[in-house]
Symmetry: C2
């Protein structure tokens, strides 16, 4: 850790928002200074409430998260939001999105919003999101929200790595969206029916309650909100605070270790892959041609590369 | 390759639909007999037109693909559809979906539909989808459609591994969906504005044309459809046939090798990970606890595991 990183780290720990913004960029994009900064911050442990928010596109997650941030502010909490955009390029769209989203909280030093795009982040979006959340935690935010579009498996996983996972659904999203609920609901600590003033909200809530009744264990809290008017948002915020308060240190510690385990695995796998493939591009090309011609299968070509003679 | 696999393979190559269904289950779920069957099929090369269809939830992809299948049938082609559901469990929902989707094509031996869920597939959904497509190609289907919900990165990748990638959008899917278009459009060989009779369809088409004008290279064909009435579906089918006809053997071969390269990489990475982590669970747990306590960073813990002394 050099003097520059020590200075950066001190400013982040003081909660200087400019330093936080620079630190996030470093962590996302600089393979040397990013890890050094994270190392400088690691010893200064603070505990934020990590909240993952996921759900299908169009469920109103952004508006809801913005309303939650306002509610946490009224309760005296500082809030950081990481919005993960699964397919947009790493710059451009994300920045524009930040500016639009910041509107409501403009000039409030207690709210920080940053968009992360899935592509282009060193080591993948999952690693970048977790690293950024560490920076925000070190900067003293009381709540760190990670918001993802819960359709792809990878995106759901990112939101799941939290103290409290919130699944947001809305009525009338079409059959395709309905079909995705089963997988989403499994990861939910709290379920929200947003746009609860629309047709179909009652039917959706009943269907959810029916689904929970079929499962073992107590059902997660189910709340109704209208994010655009603020209805139910305060109650949701209270439910999230209660969830983490009821969790106990043991469960919270277990989730923290679980997050760390996934992050280490991802990092090790990434490094081992980079290393291994760097000297095998030509061999891979030759085998890919053989597979394309039907002379090898994917399994036999893989075995040849791995040298186990199968 | 045993006698059982040879018999199975012969029935698949004859196009027996019962044998095809059993073969897909084997390939998805049996680590020994699945690869053996794929090996038995590999030498019998046929060429299907592989079409990837992706787009946000609610764009009407299922209805459109069903209409395309009917159009290909009228043109004398046999069609197989693999529908990838990103978050539903591996059984149950998928089977119900198949039955609903088959309605229109009931009793037609020239259409085969199968749903694949992302979770539970051996080696991941990407590998399972590609293996299943190989079985369907060997069974003599002229067109193999892979349909995914194009929101997660992984799901877009699956649809991209084709001869022709179709991106389906619909008007009025909300800001969140709009934001995802940039990444989706990059992979499109053909773009469809479905639900073209709805408000906002013209605006969406204009926005797309504007976006293409800013890019280098010729824009992809942009077609309008109303899948529910069949409007424009025949024209879309013709555009897809034209795309692959115009592609030429060189480009088609390049894409085939590219698919094989990705599949071998995925398979090798998966096997190396399984092997490496099987003996390191305790060490990983200890390091994950150290990271959770702030005594290590993810990077330093990964370095310790990799033994490079950093």
């Amino acid at each position: 850790v050099t003097r520059a990183e020590t200075l950066d780290a001190a400013s982040v720990l003081r909660g200087d928002l400019g330093a936080v913004a620079r630190a996030l960029t470093l962590v996302e994009s600089d393979r040397t200074r990013g890890p050094a900064l994270l190392a400088a911050l690691a010893g200064h442990r603070r505990r934020a409430h990590r909240v993952g928010v996921t759900g299908p596109p169009g469920a109103g997650k952004s508006t809801l998260v913005s309303g939650l941030a306002a509610s946490w502010r009224r309760a005296g909490r500082r809030v950081a939001i990481l919005a993960v955009d699964p397919t947009s390029p790493f710059t451009g769209g994300a920045l524009l999105g930040d500016r639009i989203r910041m509107g409501e909280h403009h000039g409030d030093q207690g709210v920080f919003i940053r968009s992360l795009a899935s592509r282009g982040a060193l080591g993948g979006v999952s690693a970048a999101t977790a690293d950024c959340a560490d920076v925000l935690e070190a900067a003293g935010f009381d709540v760190v929200v990670v918001e993802t579009v819960g359709v792809g498996q990878g995106e759901v996983e990112v939101a799941r790595r939290s103290d409290t996972t919130v699944v947001v659904l809305a009525p009338g999203s079409g059959d395709e969206v309905q079909g995705m609920k089963a997988g989403l609901l499994e990861v939910a600590d709290v379920v929200v029916v947003n746009q609860a003033d629309r047709d179909g909200a009652d039917a959706l809530a009943s269907a959810l309650e029916g689904a929970f009744a079929l499962r073992s264990g107590p059902p997660p809290p189910l709340l109704r909100t209208v994010a655009t008017t603020g209805r139910g948002v305060e109650e949701l915020r209270v439910a999230l605070d209660r969830h983490v308060a009821a969790q106990g240190e043991e469960e919270r510690g277990r989730r923290r270790v679980d997050r760390a385990r996934h992050r280490i695995r991802d990092e090790v796998d990434r490094r081992r892959q980079e290393d291994w493939w760097s000297s095998r591009a030509e061999r891979l090309d030759a085998l890919a041609r053989a597979v394309a011609e039907g002379e090898e299968t994917v399994a036999s070509a893989s075995s040849r590369l791995l040298g186990d003679g199968r």
